[in-house]
Amino acid sequence: MRRTVLWKALCHGLLTMGFAATTAFAQMGNAPKELRMLESGGPSGDSIEQAYIKPFTEKTGIRVVRESPTSTGKLQAMVQSGKITSTLVELGATNVVMARTLGLIEPLDWNAINPGPLFEEAKWPDAFGYQYFSTIMVWRKGEKPLATWADFWNVKEFPGKRALPDYPSYTLALALLADGVKPEELYPLDVDRAFASLEKIKDHVAVWWKAGAQAPQLLEDREVAYSAAWSGRIVENDKLDYTYNQGLLMLSYFVVPKGADPAAKSAAMGLLHEMSLARNQAVAAEVIPYTGASTEIEAAIDPAKASLYPTSEANKKVQALADPVWTATNAKEIEKRWQQFKLGL
């Protein structure tokens, strides 16, 4: 009786392992009928689906499967384990530089991408800048409007609690702008000066938010009166007012993990081509008010809505462009000082 039970157990075990092995083998060596990408999800993901994936699939017949959320940790896990499950990975500019330093990404084939005209900062050898977003000042309609970050820091004339991002790469830059540093002279960041500037406001900051959706929610809940927020969450919200003046402009990129399947990679270049076209970017901007990197975007979007977008002419010139290389190189030290700062709150 015992021997039969043992035999049955072994057979079941081997069957399961065999099944698992065959499914694994079945997925290797596929000609790309399907492309996988890792992106941040939410309305941003929807914008990619409607504006870029649709025309791409119509042209090439290749299905694109989106996964979310994305992180540098996931990229590292893929590359270190050798199993590249996503051919395109979305990363913020600073994370791209970090990934580059860690040797996690491959150069892109710009000839294959054959992009429409793009802003220079979107054309890195190993990353494709696909979406601009801004960190701007926001307040509830009816509160005193702000013009500059110095106003944000001025609690006497503009009373009320504040909310700032729990990300030193954003908040230190904003603190310097509040302290009077000109946008062109922002980088390299004077970290000591930034923390000194934060000391002046920290008692009035009720929340250091981590999720993009927190900022508008805190404003609507009357938890805070003024906040820094990511522009896409704000500009179409009727209850909130904002200004792009002195906003921090940043770019999100798509990268290819090191060791990606070459056939999948060349297919992905076609998708990146779609992302570079102004007419597609205009469609994306309808879904989420972020613009792509095309220099011709102004012509493609509805002029009445131009003020909503980070890269419309009027908005682009009043903002400060973040420097991801500096931020990435100094990320570890800044993060440690930031955590130290938060412990002292």
């Binding site: 039970v5 157990a9 075990g13 940790g73 929340v207 809940d221 570890k332 938060k342």
Partner: protein, 283 residues
């Protein structure tokens, strides 16, 4: 089949062999990654054995401070759970059986609601425009909304709320087993109600209370959602720090070193928990 001198029957039992596939899956899916993580904390950049990562964790005051902060919040949470949970369990014990059901279900039903939903519910209740603040403002007791949230108070409220059932339910189960006749015997021997409680009832419930407290402590150490949502960024706990180190930096070696320290602390506490529950079974 091999024989063991201690338990000759165990290894021959068919039940053991049925469990083997499950054990293999657990070994591959759980124990192996755990060992890889532990290994990562002692492997240097070139591949040799090194304690440099632990040294870096010990030297960086931020990591040790956050660990201590987490331990401190865990102690406070455990203390509050005991203060609130013991009377609750005692009161439940003395209810007639039908009301006991009602009382127990009120403790258990929040378990069935997602922790994220519960955490956000606190924002509705305790936020600046929430029910409590609006009540206080309306009654004129305060001029400005009180900050219950986005600070340590909010985190502790949220954590105690989530972990209280973990203390109350085992404690209640142990209290129910305490024989009423012992208490009555103490009374007939002339003990006052307080003496009966303190010298007869409390020591009998103590092992279960201690075990529940250790459980709550261990769970608080790993808490992530509640400090992330209700802390407003000003309550750094170790799980949030690990999220940063793993997903954003990524500094997996440092994260592994910190995780190993956390695992060691938790294992030590778990051994304590086992000792206490064994104590309870023998009384």
């Amino acid at each position: 089949m091999s024989r063991s001198a201690r338990s000759p029957g165990a290894l021959r039992s068919p039940a053991l062999w049925l469990v083997v596939p499950l054990l293999l899956v657990m070994a591959a899916g759980f124990n192996l990654p755990l060992l890889v993580m532990l290994g990562r904390s002692v492997v240097g950049a070139e591949g040799g054995f090194t304690l440099a990562h632990f040294a870096e964790v010990a030297e960086t005051s931020v990591y040790t401070k956050v660990l201590l902060n987490t331990l401190r919040i865990a102690v406070i949470t455990t203390g509050l759970c005991i203060l609130l949970g013991y009377p609750l369990a005692y009161w439940l014990r003395r209810l007639p059986p039908r009301w006991q059901m009602v009382g127990l279900s009120m403790v258990v039903i929040p378990f069935w609601i997602s922790i994220l939903v519960r955490t956000y519910a606190w924002i509705v209740v305790l936020g600046n425009a929430g029910m409590v603040n609006r009540g206080l403002l309306g009654l004129g007791l305060v001029d400005e909304p009180v900050s219950f949230l986005y600070n340590e108070l909010g985190v502790i409220i949220g954590t105690v709320n989530v972990l209280l059932p973990f203390l109350v339910l085992p404690l209640f189960a142990a209290m129910v087993k305490i024989d009423d006749r012992l208490l009555r015997a103490a009374e007939t021997l002339g003990a006052s109600p307080w003496t009966t409680f303190w010298r007869v009832f409390f020591p009998l419930s103590l092992p279960s209370l201690a075990a529940g407290a250790v459980l709550v402590f261990i769970l608080t150490l790993g808490f992530f959602i509640t400090p992330a949502v209700l802390g407003g960024g000003r309550v750094p706990m170790i799980a949030n720090m690990l999220d940063l180190l793993v997903n954003q930096m990524p500094s997996w070696e440092i994260a592994s070193a910190i995780s190993t320290v956390l695992l060691a602390v938790t294992l030590a506490l778990f051994v304590l928990y086992l000792r206490l529950t064994r104590l309870e079974e023998s009384t």
